[in-house]
């Protein structure tokens, strides 16, 4: 049963590794360049090239495109094209070998340290840190100083200084894996440490090793070439790209091509590797692949297919009509709000209730354009503030209203306050964004606001950072910030969910008191009917992106008409009634990218009939300011 619902079918299936890699145009270009260079280097003995070491003093320093020498000759008259191909072969071989040595040795250190943990780990990592405390190239130089100049010694030096890099990366991943269940299971089944390390852990660490190789191999080729350039690597007559560049430097002013040709080759090689490596990383790192690292813009994109009539309702300070908000993720459209209507009277508190994923937060955040774009967009509807359509306003007009006419309080005050600024500074900023006050006047006002939300010693607390305050204090700061510019509407998105119960009650009392004193309307988003009953005048219940029932709080609590509302109310524990049935609602809400036709709650509803599963069901008025979107509403006193 659980298995059937827990594994929703993955859409489209996962595209193959190579298809993903080649879909990235830059990575494909990098692979192409790299491939051509590698093929040329491998095929060097087969190509019709002159002997790279054949000197011809008569033909020295020939320019590129000279007869017989497409890339010219160097100071000794040797053919540069031939030397380039053979030199690339050496550079590639050295770079690859150094990378492999570093990868094997470093991964081994990392695997052992991460798997063994404790003192072995401490000792190994302390050594790694020590080596990493050296500037990288300097250590390579010191090693060459000991071993003496030479290509092999340069290779060892570069490999050695890269070991810590691998060790550190691999150790981090291994450490996490070593504590996982499958490792414990293997241990219990009596497998040897080596067997577990190489049979269970290594395959899981492999992607990290590959990614680390892809990030370092370009560097390794560069660094070995660098040592050769300095005369500490390849020794004549053997040449790699670096030593060719070093030799070319001597004739830089008279024949620049001798240096430029190997220099460009190193560049092309490393660029190819880096491009391909970046592509590889994107494919192997699923977090980047899903496009998670996109930055939300300042305001939700508005692309309305439908705009309702904009005749204002004078009774409402905030009037949301037919709001549709969608998220486009991976080419699929998820409808988070599918035509939501809400009316908020002046000084009224309206509760917006629903399970997580019902679209209540998205609805609230859509009003002032705070839904992240990408991937979100407002696809239809209107939100009238004092009769003016917010979705049709220019960005600057919205900015002027945010925090002034409409203020927000969010769920988790630790993550919603800036961690690096004092709460005082954040308050001052909120005030000065809308009021032309001097810094000093704003500071005085900030302290006044902190006092208003009952924070003791406001002057002192203003200098505190958010992490220095308790959860309740932090949320008080957030409420103070919302009140900074006397808003007409306060949108509170689960402001008490992250707090413990006693603190929760105090914050609710605070919001209630301020609402009465300042006559601000409150849109209160919550999943908790208990909270609704203490603070809200009216309540709107949302399910799968639509309002399914609406009315005065008391009436709905006493006699819910929609079966979903009834089940939701039944979820609230009542103090002193231990034998009441506490029901979780069976099943789960439909995914927002494939909503069923008809009533979205029908699949979970015991009263559903065939007609529930077809056609549009309207939100019908029932008198007494109530409305319900249900074909078979409950009669008062009836159980769902």
């Amino acid at each position: 049963m659980a298995g059937a619902t827990a594994a929703p079918a993955r859409t489209g299936g996962r595209p193959g590794f190579w298809r993903l890699l080649l879909a990235n145009r830059l990575a494909a270009a990098g692979l192409l360049v790299l491939g051509l260079i590698v093929v040329a280097a491998l095929a060097a003995p087969l190509l019709p090239l002159p002997d790279p070491d054949l000197t011809a003093p008569a033909e020295r320093l020939a320019r590129p495109l000279a007869p017989g020498h497409p890339l010219g000759t160097d100071a000794l008259g040797r053919d540069i094209l031939s030397r380039l191909v053979w030199g690339t072969r050496v550079s590639l071989a050295v770079g690859l070998s150094a990378t492999l040595i570093a990868a094997v040795a470093g991964s081994l250190v990392g695997l052992v340290a991460g798997y063994a943990g404790g003192r072995v780990d401490g000792l190994l990592m302390r050594g790694v840190d020590m080596v990493m405390a050296f500037p990288y190239i300097l250590l390579a130089l010191a090693i060459v100083a000991v071993l003496g100049p030479g290509l092999l010694n340069a290779l060892y030096a570069i490999a050695l200084v890269n070991i810590p890099f691998f060790a550190r990366n691999i150790r981090g991943v291994t450490l996490g894996l070593a504590r996982r269940d499958f490792v414990a299971a293997a241990r219990l089944s009596g497998r040897s440490h080596a067997g577990i390390l190489f049979g269970e852990i290594l395959p899981n660490v492999m992607p990290v090793i590959v990614v680390t190789i892809s990030t370092t191999i370009g560097w390794m080729i560069l660094e070995t070439a660098g040592l050769s350039f300095l005369g500490l690597g390849a020794q004549p007559p053997r040449a790699d790209l670096g030593s060719m560049l070093g030799e070319g430097r001597a004739v830089l002013f008279t024949a620049p091509h001798v240096a430029m040709v190997p220099g460009l080759m190193i560049f092309a090689l490393v660029m190819g590797i880096n491009l391909a490596g970046d592509g590889l990383r994107d494919v192997l790192d699923p977090r980047l692949r899903s496009g998670a690292l996109t930055r939300p813009v300042a305001r939700t994109k508005v692309a309305r297919r439908r705009v309702p009539a904009l005749t204002p309702d004078p009774a409402a300070v905030l009037d949301v009509r037919g709001l549709e908000t969608e998220f486009e993720i991976g080419g699929e459209v998820h409808r988070a709000a599918g035509g939501v209507d809400l009316k908020l009277g002046r000084g009224e508190c309206l509760g917006l209730v629903g399970e997580s994923g019902s679209g209540k937060s998205v609805t609230a955040m859509s009003i002032m354009g705070l839904v992240p774009t990408p991937p979100g967009r407002i696809a239809g509807g209107a939100a009238l503030l004092d009769g003016e359509d917010l979705f049709g306003m220019p960005d600057e007009a919205i900015r002027r209203l945010r925090g002034a006419a409409v203020a927000h309080v969010f769920q988790d005050p630790l993550s919603t306050l800036h961690p690096l600024l004092t709460v005082g500074a954040q308050l001052v900023e909120a005030i000065r964004a809308h009021a032309p006050l001097t810094r000093r006047a704003a500071e005085a006002r900030a302290e006044e606001l902190l006092g208003l939300v009952r924070i003791p010693n406001p002057a002192e607390r203003a200098r505190a950072y958010p992490h220095e305050l308790s959860g309740g204090m932090r949320q008080r700061v957030c409420v103070a910030m919302a009140l900074a510019n006397d808003p007409e509407v306060m949108i509170a998105d689960e402001p008490t969910t992250a707090l413990d119960v006693t603190v929760q009650a105090r914050i609710l009392a605070l919001i209630e008191r301020l609402r009465r004193e300042r006559d601000a309307a409150v849109l209160f988003i919550t999943h908790d009917f208990g909270v609704v009953s203490t603070i809200c005048d009216r309540v709107a219940v949302m399910y799968a992106g639509r309002v399914v029932e609406e009315g005065p709080t008391r009436a709905i609590l006493e006699a819910p008409a929609h079966p979903y509302t009834a089940r939701l109310i039944a979820c609230v524990p009542v103090l002193g009634a231990p034998h009441r049935r506490l029901d979780a609602i069976p099943g789960r809400p439909p995914p927002a990218n494939r909503l069923p036709e008809g009533c979205a709650f029908a699949p979970r509803c015991p009263r559903a009939t065939a007609d529930c599963r077809a056609g549009e069901i309207a939100l019908g008025g029932r008198g007494g300011g109530r409305a319900v979107r249900c074909l078979h509403p409950l009669a008062p006193g009836e159980r769902a």
Partner: protein
């Protein structure tokens, strides 16, 4: 705060001791008998033994290390046999030149890298972002020893805008303007890779930060987007970037080896290459030790800067 700085300083001491052990071990592994190397192949065994005693080389290695460390703490890094002058004098003189070059390059790389990263993130997927991303890729793929030659060819030989080598003009130079003039090409060359790395990381850090709840709060307060990016997002993005700048200090100090060789800058990098090529071991050892110590201090500075920005780390 002061206590915190002291703690960090204290934590740097074992690292410095570790560095000295590694340098000592590396140098002790050098094959051959130093006394024979100094006295030549025809020295008598008695003379070699006497010199070994004078140099303390007849002592067991741990004791030799302590003697060596004691000497270093007294400012005695030995004598360069090729230059015939105290290693410390030569190293300090050269290190000043390197510090000017590497310091300029690091400041340049930090400023440019942060700016490019922030702009790139603020206009994600726009043409500026693409241009920066591509420029960064080119920058980190270009070997500095090649880029240096390229710049010399274009800006010193063809255009004659800047000098091709040295730190001061041979005749009539020596003032700050002359130094700045000579500094442009090598500092740029040295800064390129670090700029790329810092820009890349800043971009990622900014994108990460811009998705945080507190950025939504800043916007919900009605702050101008400019302020959201420059104050709220940038400050938070700096926290992970600063240690990377510290690490880049090491790459810049190391990369100075190439750039100083290409531009004949009289710094410690070109000195090291010569010392290794001529097997002037004491000079090489002194140079490595001083640069490594400088790197530790750079990282310490980055560490302290990070705690200045992030109160949670105090």
């Amino acid at each position: 705060m002061g206590l915190h700085v002291l703690k960090r300083l204290a934590a740097a001491i074992p690292v410095l001791i570790g560095l000295s052990v590694i340098v000592f071990l590396i140098m002790a592994m050098i094959p051959g008998d130093p006394a024979t190397a100094i006295l030549g192949a025809y020295a008598t065994p008695e003379n070699v033994a006497a010199l070994n005693r004078d140099l303390g080389l007849d002592q067991p290695p741990p004791r030799r290390y302590l003697i060596w460390l004691g000497n270093i703490l007294h400012g005695d890094l030995g004598r360069s046999y090729a230059l015939n002058r105290p290693v410390l004098d030569e190293v300090l003189e050269r290190f000043q030149a390197t510090l000017v070059l590497a310091g300029t390059a690091l400041v340049l790389a930090s400023l440019l890298g942060l700016l490019a990263g922030v702009v790139s993130a603020a206009r994600q997927f726009g043409w500026t972002d693409r241009a920066v991303t591509f420029a960064v890729l080119i920058g980190i793929s270009t070997p500095s020893f090649f880029l240096g030659l390229l710049l010399i060819l274009v800006f010193a030989v063809r255009l004659r805008w800047f000098p091709a080598s040295g730190m001061y003009a041979i005749y009539g130079g020596g003032d700050l303007k002359d130094l700045a003039w000579h500094l442009v090409l090598p500092a740029l060359t040295l800064a390129v890779v670090a700029t790329g790395v810092i820009a890349r990381l800043t971009r990622t850090a900014m994108l990460e930060v811009l998705r945080q709840d507190y950025i939504r709060t800043a916007r919900a307060k009605g702050l101008r987007e400019r302020r959201v990016i420059r104050v709220h997002a940038f400050r938070a993005a700096l926290v992970p970037v600063i240690p990377v700048i510290g690490i880049q200090a090491g790459f810049v100090l190391g990369g100075a080896v190439y750039v100083e060789t290409v531009f004949q800058w009289p710094g410690i990098g070109s000195m090291l290459v010569n010392a290794i090529a001529t097997r002037d071991i004491l000079l090489a050892q002194g140079g490595v030790l001083v640069v490594a110590a400088a790197y530790v201090l750079f990282n310490l500075a980055a560490d302290i800067a990070q705690t200045l920005i992030d109160p949670r780390l105090r």
